[in-house]
């Protein structure tokens, strides 16, 4: 390898510049204290992990190392923010699968309309029918609850929406529900009642959940369907609200979709509502996975922000109110049923809830639970992680 004297004297400035930038980024990132949690991203950041034989051979350590470096890079939040501003300046509304509508509603729609494909035959045959049979084995009633999808609700705000697809969606959904009914599964479809009240504040703009009021109307629909299917029983009726309030929590309420948008300049107009029905039972016992718990029924703690509306995610809660004249209910679902559970405590003597994310992941665990609890009504809203 020859290097001429003349070339040795000349410095390749551009390489020096490149190496200099890289080393500056590297050293600044190394000197900076590692960030443990990012409120901007709503997640724990990757910490440094020393390699061991297994993690190296499996390749896992290398991924962790890359993630660690990117999570802890100097100026990370600023770079994300600049990127968002540039994309917005270029006219993009969709960033990382989130579309910002004109009214600041954020939608998880890339382009095509969401398809109502959840209640397919495999799900019905492998999940719903075994649960229905378990419920029927002791004379209980089984319901499948379909909560109005937020993306459909806001479809007309979507800048690239196609009008006819909403009707297509409804038609497909109606067909789904008819199929279920044909297989002996009762369904609770919240479309009608949600549309009736569509001028109210039913869904957050910045978050993928419905509001407390959205949950309330869904719950009313559930009661309607139960009453209609049990004309010989005392009708269930939810009372007037005793107290209803709303507030913006302390700090920023980063709705889940705002975090994804990566835009700290997003003007968040959402607020949280909570409510208490009249004559809400004040004597009760609460159990978490069978163990007594002293947690309140409604968490009126304004610092919990997100958890307040949803009332928290728990794997298996039972609330007993010692009113034997009232029926019992088991609600299986994820965060959206959390709010329904709070309301169900008013109408039902026993309220059981299962969140599949924190429960056993096999059908037998559910059928066994149903047979043991013997609730009058079993309602499944979401259980899709189960194989």
């Amino acid at each position: 390898m020859n290097t001429t004297d003349n070339e040795k004297k000349r410095v390749p400035k551009r390489i020096v510049l490149f190496v200099g930038i890289c080393l500056a980024i590297l050293s600044a990132s190394l000197i900076k204290k590692d960030v443990e949690y990012s409120s901007f991203e709503n997640r724990t950041m990757q910490f440094f992990r020393w390699p061991d034989v297994n993690s190296v051979l499996s390749g896992e350590w290398f991924e962790v190392f890359e993630t660690y470096n990117l999570d802890q890079v100097i100026g990370r939040d600023l770079l994300v923010e600049i990127n968002t501003h540039i994309l917005r300046a270029l006219g993009k509304r969709q960033i990382d699968r989130i579309t910002a509508c004109d009214d600041d509603t954020l939608l998880i729609i890339s382009y095509d309309f969401p398809q109502p494909a959840r209640v397919g035959d495999p799900f019905t045959e492998n999940v719903l029918i075994p649960l229905k049979d378990a419920t029927a084995s002791y004379g209980g009633q089984f319901y499948y609850m379909n909560i109005y999808p937020r993306d459909v609700y806001f479809w007309n705000s979507f800048p690239y929406h196609k009008d006819e697809t909403v009707d297509d969606y409804h038609a497909a959904n109606d067909e789904d529900m008819r199929d279920l009914n044909g297989k002996g599964i009762l369904s609770v479809d919240t479309y009608g009642i949600t549309e009736e009240h569509s001028d109210e504040y039913l869904f957050f703009k910045s978050d993928h959940h419905y509001t407390y009021k959205g949950a309330y109307y869904s719950y009313l629909k559930l009661l309607d369907v139960i009453n209609a299917n049990n004309p010989d029983k005392e009708p269930l009726s939810f009372p007037e609200w005793e107290k209803m309030d709303h507030f913006r929590p302390e700090g920023k309420f980063w709705g889940s979709l705002v975090s994804h948008l990566g835009d700290p300049g997003y003007k968040n107009t959402d607020f949280l509502e909570y409510a208490l029905p009249k004559d809400y039972p004040d004597e009760y016992t609460r159990y978490e996975f069978g163990e007594p718990s002293d947690m309140p029924l409604i968490r009126q703690d304004e610092t919990t922000e997100y958890g307040f509306f949803m009332n928290g995610d728990y794997g298996n809660t039972v609330v007993k109110t010692n009113r034997p004249d009232r029926p019992s209910i088991l609600i299986i679902g994820k965060s959206c049923t959390d709010a329904l559970e709070v309301m169900a405590v008013y109408d039902f003597n026993e309220m059981h809830s299962i969140d599949p994310r924190m429960f056993e992941n096999n059908i037998t665990a559910y059928t066994e639970y149903i047979k043991n609890a013997k609730c009058d009504y079993v309602v499944v809203q979401d259980i899709f992680e189960m194989e």
Partner: protein, 470 residues
């Protein structure tokens, strides 16, 4: 390790450059070899042994072929054995499940699939290894007695994962002797950043839309979205692959190696024949020199030439992946090339340039739909949707607005930068400014592009916790 990763750009590359130019020249090959092995082992060290096995096969084969140079028949058998060994290694890792699937399909058997993980870059380094033995056999390069030097040729990290496929005769002298020129070094880092820009700013961003279209399922696509998705993929694959080649060529030059060009603005071609002279040039010349010409090329009559074209393109397709889609893709080009050579090119001059471009681009876009489809049925549905003048007609306008608004800028940038416009702008600046100003401008461009790429790299890891389902 990927070129577009933090570990490579911010840690590996700058430290290697510093180390390379600090240590004595006689240790530089050893450093590059160590770095290349570390580069390959990073992320999945178990497959390092496969590559080392490939190096060993070709090292021993090279010595054998060289030793048998006076005995042509024995040498020929040694070359055949080398090909069999190399292709067996490639076949085992890349094609085992493909063959099992087809045997099961034909015979009705139920032989379980092996689910063998494909070692990174095996298609490339296998071809480089064979190139070494072929060139020794043809007397176009000296046999390497030092196994470390052969290991460096086969495993050199810039071209290890995705080419260009550097033939031994091209690089043999550089393994012993390299000139380091300041101007070349400055251009080399610019070339690397240009490649990084193509990959990170163009390919990845255009690829977002292509990804949506090809993930949707062809049934939901309309004429508008199917064409837009296919064009987006055509641009994505060009910027991805040519960006990688630019980075490889730039990196090679940083360490004194001169790699051949792999792309020459292929979408400016006016025929498919010309397109393949401009696209993945190193693979094309490899097949031309080591398969097409030994089969007789165009020297044994038209019919034999067409047969040779079909064989070469069958192999080219199969080299790209273990799926019938790739085979069909290869044969699709074989058919077009045969048609061009027998009919179309005769009338080429009579067809206006604009229509020649349109003809070529349409065939390329359709070709990449076949290439990127997960199955033959998907590609046929996708292509039929591209010509369906009725489906979803009422939504065409809103789809166009969506595409233009969300991806218009990057797709337009992709179309512009797939032509030589960037080079022409740089040439213009060079003409109009002094040499020192030109260098400063290039440095500024490089810095801005590099920081933009770095920003996108960081953003790609932006991963807020969210559960989308209720």
């Amino acid at each position: 390790m990927l070129f577009s990763s933090y570990t490579f750009i911010i840690i590996f590359l700058p430290l290697l450059i510093i180390a390379y130019y600090i240590i004595p020249e006689k240790l530089r090959n050893a450093l590059l070899l160590a770095a290349s092995l570390a580069f390959y082992a990073w992320g999945g060290p178990s497959y390092l042994l496969v590559m080392l096995g490939s190096i060993l096969i070709n090292y021993v084969s090279g010595l054998a072929v060289d030793g048998l140079s006076e005995r042509p028949s024995a040498k020929r058998w040694a070359v055949i054995l080398t090909v069999v060994l190399n292709l067996s290694l490639l076949g085992y890792y890349k094609y085992t499940d493909f063959f099992i699937e087809n045997i099961n399909w034909i015979t009705g058997l139920d032989i379980p699939l092996r689910h063998i993980i494909l070692p990174l870059g095996i298609s490339f380094y296998t071809f480089q290894g064979m190139s070494y033995v072929f060139d020794i056999s043809r007397g176009k390069g000296k046999v390497l007695k030092n196994p470390l030097r052969l290991a460096l040729y086969i495993s050199f990290f810039p071209q290890l994962i995705a080419g260009p496929i550097v033939r031994y005769e091209t690089i043999a002298p550089q393994l012993e002797h390299r000139n380091v020129d300041t101007a070349v070094l400055n251009d080399a880092i610019f070339r690397f950043v240009r490649g990084l820009t193509k990959k990170v700013l163009l390919a990845n961003m255009i690829g977002e839309y292509a990804g949506i279209c090809f993930a949707e399922g062809a049934g939901s696509l309309t004429l508008v979205s199917s064409w837009a998705g296919a064009i987006a993929y055509t641009l994505q694959i060009y910027f991805d692959f040519s960006g990688y080649s630019d980075m490889a060529i730039g990196l090679g030059a940083i360490f004194g190696f001169s790699f051949p060009e792999n792309f020459d603005h292929p979408y400016c071609a006016q025929s498919i024949t010309e397109f393949w002279r401009r696209w993945h040039i190193s693979l094309g010349t490899w097949f031309r020199d080591y398969v097409y010409i030994p089969l007789g090329g165009n020297r044994k009559g038209k019919l034999r030439q067409f047969l040779n074209i079909i064989v070469v393109w069958f192999l080219t397709g199969f080299w790209h992946g273990a799926s019938w889609n790739f085979v069909i893709w290869g044969l699709y080009y074989a058919l077009i090339l045969v048609l061009e050579k027998s009919v179309i090119l005769k009338y080429k001059e009579k067809i206006p340039v604009f229509f020649r471009h349109i003809y070529t681009i349409i065939l390329i876009v359709i070709g990449f739909v076949i290439f990127n489809s997960p199955s033959l049925s998907f590609s046929s549905s996708y292509i039929s949707r591209m010509f369906d003048l009725t489906y979803g007609r009422s939504t065409w306008a809103s789809e166009l607005i969506h595409i233009f608004r969300e991806y218009g800028v990057v797709i337009l940038a992709g179309c512009i930068f797939s032509t030589p416009v960037a080079d022409r702008i740089l040439s213009l600046i060079k003409e109009k400014t002094s040499a020192s100003s030109y260098e400063v401008i290039k440095s500024v461009i490089m810095t801005v592009l590099f920081l933009a790429c770095f920003m996108r790299l960081v953003v790609s890891s932006y991963n807020p916790f969210i559960y989308f389902r209720f």
